[in-house]
Symmetry: C2
């Protein structure tokens, strides 16, 4: 077993931004060049960390300095981004990174040097730099990220937003569910959580099926769908619920995309390795669907589909990752896919009757037929 | 002005399915071949209907008959789909068209002939056939469609779902909003609607901005984002709100995709012309962003982006549609795009300050600076 350590980011965003600025001003006053230090985010500095159980940034740092012809422009851009974020925090108003980009563009020729930003692709990496350097998330800097996914179950969300407080009862959201926001940390609390586990269902269609059958009430779980790949907000929510001592079970298709969704929730992903402390949930377990299901449930045999080249390629790749390869259950599963060249969708569980998907999940979870 | 007529589908789905089945059985008993008649859905039978003000199916019908070598297979498939939908209605349970496909595949060799369905692409058009032939929506047949989009504003939704009733107050959904479901008709009612108009905002990021500023409360509107192209459920909701006598204002980017979103809401689309009576809302008006805005708001000039070839191609095409070409305001707008080769995003309105987007909308709506 991997021992799991957790190291969360703390969100004193305004203080940290002011410290950053003051530090730079002090350096200038002392006749020195202001510097900006951040952990390197390139793939070469991303490693699977055994003690944490997920993909994480290594220790390599890079320093950006103002008095360097190659770095001056980027340095100024970073300062401009930090200044805008401070402004958003002061105003207690949120925007997207696209909104930030337009604010930067608008300021050109005024407080910011002309042509400092011409494309959004220039401002995006700077935001990541800030997140890493300040050890916080862009959500803490009042920058909204794409949101996706819904929740149903016995829990309440206290949402203090735009100067008002509202409490959302996730057991009373009807067919819709509670839409997972970009930021589930700041000015938001989960209360009255009454559940034995969290079930993460890849597809919204299956979530709706289970929600209609009130699976979450009968089985005492929190029912989440990320609607495909999990957004930052959704991964963060799963991580928070895991911290509240709930087991996390993930239910996806048996194919490249489904596996990717699971492993991104569990061990994080390369691109977001810098956020892994907040959004990777190594405690997660895989409930299905699996190739073994075809053996256990006869009817699934005729409901398989031909695997696509991408599925086979991905299965092969996954077996080369040490953190997957050491689980013999996963290796067996992936080898069966390679050999049979078949895939299986979670939707297929509705074959015999619409309620079967719930029966299947109940049984597998009860019998702990889970992959690590 | 186009006089607007409305002809809604009525949803006695179970009755209609039973009539269809009984009719076929009677024909067989009378020694005749059972038939199935549906309006042709191909593009050649889609026309812009002046009296309705949207794209609509013409009168051409096609008949499918069992005793025809070329049609027998399709006929049997249609009957199989209808039988499954009747079962879902009897069970009071919903699924997706993918779930329906797997139920059909599961039945192969049992009550349905072997290999009757091998690909979902075979079952999808049959569902459309049924929708047209029975004059109802697949949502009325307990088939869920992809859902997308959220709502905030002074209205309540009474949702009777899975044997329970819950009331959602769309003014108390915090940062999340109420997630628009697949079906906004069956077992669902809108009550306590207190608003002067509906504002449909293309991008979720802008919806979140306006929601944070409580734009919907200050300006007494229902704030909707379809999150890009509007889902069937979202278009149906907009249509229902228009029926409740609210003006509909649409706010998108000034580019090919933004215009498409607007016109799909207003006049419907080719693919969904068979549903136009339920989802096209010819009363909709376009609030922005427009090329004229660049003249009216100086700062927007430096926040334009280079138009893509697809934007210019689309602008040219739109001018060839008679229902667009007759509006001189739109022709002027599209010609300016063609000439300047520029586009403008709604996000750019956040340039001077985050709250500016609300100020802009308030002013334009008050001064009725709207395109038809």
């Amino acid at each position: 077993m991997v021992m799991i350590m957790a190291r969360k980011k703390d969100a004193k965003a305004l203080e940290k931004l002011m410290e950053l600025g003051k530090g730079m001003v002090n350096e200038v006053r002392r006749g020195k060049s202001p510097n900006f230090e951040a952990t390197v985010r390139s793939r070469s500095n991303v490693k699977y960390d055994e003690s944490f159980g997920y993909l994480r940034l290594g220790k390599r740092k890079e320093t950006r300095t103002f008095v360097n012809v190659g770095q001056a422009r980027k340095f100024m851009q970073t300062v401009a981004v930090a200044a805008k974020c401070k402004k958003f925090l002061d105003e207690d108003a949120h925007t997207s990174i696209r909104g930030l980009f337009y604010q930067l563009k608008y300021s050109l020729g005024e407080d910011v040097e002309d042509e400092l930003f011409t494309e959004q692709s220039e401002s995006n990496p700077l935001i990541e730099d800030l997140e890493v350097a300040l050890n916080l998330k862009r959500e803490d800097l009042n920058l909204n990220t794409d949101r996706k996914g819904v929740v149903a179950g016995s829990m309440r969300v206290v949402d203090r937003f735009g100067g008002e407080e509202t409490t959302i009862n996730c057991a009373k959201q009807g067919r819709s569910g509670w839409a997972i926001p970009s930021d589930v940390d700041n000015n938001m609390e989960i209360t009255d959580l009454k559940a034995d586990y969290v079930l993460v269902v890849e597809k919204d269609a299956l979530w709706q099926r289970l929600n209609e059958d009130k699976f979450w009430r009968k089985e005492k779980c929190i029912l989440i769908t990320p609607k495909g790949q999990a957004s930052r907000g959704c991964r963060r929510l799963i991580n928070k619920l895991a911290d509240m001592k709930l087991p996390i079970y993930v239910f996806t298709d048996c194919d490249a995309w489904g596996w990717y969704i699971y492993w991104a929730i569990k061990t994080g992903s390369m691109n977001l390795a810098y956020l892994a402390d907040d959004i990777a949930t190594p405690q997660a377990r895989f409930v299905g669907v699996t190739m073994q299901d075809i053996v256990d449930y006869d009817f699934l045999g005729k409901l398989t589909i031909k695997a696509k080249p991408v599925d086979l390629k991905r299965a092969q790749e996954m077996m080369s990752y040490p953190w997957i390869a050491r689980h013999k259950e996963w290796v067996k599963e992936l080898k069966t896919v390679m050999k049979s060249k078949k895939k299986l969708e979670q939707d297929a569980l509705q074959g015999p009757r619409l309620s079967f998907v719930g029966e299947y999940l109940k049984k597998k979870i009860k019998e702990k037929k889970l992959l690590p």
